[in-house]
Symmetry: C2
Subunit: 296 residues, 2 copies
């Protein structure tokens, strides 16, 4: 590994560890936002020195590219949506930490958030070998911070259930945001992609609905994308099972929102489905956070 | 790889491919049973020439060992339950194919079935690198055959749902055994281990209960074991989440049976739980198949 690459790897790893610790300690703290910015800066700087190779998009209306490293053991990053990735967002990064995201125009806000999320993921794809864990954890920290800040409350990762029983029991979950007594509570699973594992999201929601009554916990899925890149053929597809989503929404438990950074084409169409499912860009969260917080 | 090992690998691979094809074509055919026997014979012959190393069992009351190959790149098989593995079962293998399993004493039958299931899995652990797919597929073929033969009907792997809709839709599942109109139908997920993925089993059952009404499809999980071997420390544990099983059974959907080849200690205790969950040795299936087939 060239010396410069080793330096970037070490720097990213240090910021990542700080981010993880800070987010666990106080997800909504401004420091977490600052670490997200530093991670994005470092990643973008590294990526700006990589090549971008166009990919063959099998998703109508979307164009993708990969960041690529050269030389021995050259690597390809995951597929990046050309329209959503903003190479010139360095001067906008401050919005991630200074509480002004809601004031940005929605499309620009969506591109900024997509770029911040993808830049670290792509850097990790190129610098590490088969590393799926740090991008997933980073993405959780990012979402945890942004939602905690908007709601003014830190998340938990388990819910007490079965208070009638002698022995109390807990259900491990992704994030739970509890805005206080008589205020809304949110069940927020966070995934870089769901694939066939999405059934877990609905099933956890079902347990919460069953234990606490319908509507007590509002289910909000936050997901990066559903792209899959075939490294040999260089083709990008989106892995979607919209008919199964419809079944799960109707027969397991209804989810209130599905926020995506890059909305998969077939899931976007579920907005017109029966029943309609609210699949929207994550940037919209900042427009509706205040309404969600008062139960609207 | 020594020449003899290459010969075994090739022979196992040939029988495995035949088994997969035959099981897909006609799961209940006698030929599938014969192939299961050939696979077990070949695997046991190979394993009899491997060393058995004792493992450190962290499961009270259970002793485990690993089959081990020596020389460069020596490997360890998954953990094998000492009490359940029958090294001298060659002369009993015929019971797997001649329809006489139900006439064997239950404990002997359980050991035979465990040995047949584990022998191929262990051989694959030793002969292949990170091969999780062929043991899982082999196990599905074995269970598919045994249940299909007992019920006299081949399984399907999807269910039609939503007949009211314009466009019909299907739910991909593990095995579905449909004994005919006005007769019982079974939803039979098959896993070598479930870990945290078990929630999918309950969630699929929930969709079937929702679409077809409660009790139309009886849920039967068939699972090999829940052991986990740490190759460094040589410790064996069972990964169990009994409190979550209780929640899933109550709040997602009730499963009728949980058949294990090696019953995990903590899941075995759920028989005394509230509600009681029917976690039993798979050998018991052959005693109760006739009752299940008439809806008892």
């Amino acid at each position: 590994m060239p010396a410069r690459t080793a330096v970037v790897t070490k720097k990213l790893s240090e910021i990542y560890e700080l981010l993880k610790d800070q987010a666990a300690h106080d997800a909504k703290a401004a420091e977490v936002g600052n670490l997200l910015i530093r991670l994005a800066q470092t990643s973008l700087d590294f990526l700006s020195r990589c090549t971008q190779d166009s990919l063959i998009s099998r998703v109508p209306g979307k164009a993708y590219f990969s960041f690529v490293t050269h030389g021995r053991g050259g690597k390809m990053s995951r597929a990046v949506n050309r329209e959503l990735f903003d190479h010139n967002c360095l001067n906008k990064l401050r919005h991630v930490a200074d509480g002004t995201l809601a004031r940005m125009p929605p499309v620009e806000r969506g591109r900024l958030l997509y770029t911040v999320a993808m830049s670290y993921c792509c850097a990790a794809d190129l610098l590490k070998t088969r590393d799926q864990k740090t991008p997933a954890t980073f993405f959780e920290c990012m979402i945890g911070h942004l939602i905690a800040r908007a709601f003014g409350v830190n998340p938990r990762t388990q819910v007490e259930v079965l208070r009638l029983e002698e022995e109390s029991s807990t259900l491990p979950t992704d994030f739970i945001f509890d805005l206080g007594s008589a205020k809304p509570k949110f069940h927020v699973p966070v995934k870089t992609s769901t694939r066939e594992r999405v059934i877990q999201v609905f099933a956890h929601q079902r347990v919460l609905d069953g234990v606490h009554g319908f509507g007590k916990f509002k289910g909000i899925l936050v997901c990066l994308a559903e792209t899959k890149l075939d490294h040999k053929s260089r083709e990008v597809i989106e892995i979607c099972v919209p008919k199964q989503w419809n079944l799960y929404q109707r027969f397991i438990a209804p989810m209130r929102r599905f926020y995506y950074f890059d909305i998969p084409k077939k899931y976007g169409e579920l907005v017109e489905g029966e029943p309609p499912m609210s699949v929207v860009n994550f940037s919209k969260f900042f427009d509706e956070a205040a309404d969600l917080a008062v139960g609207r």
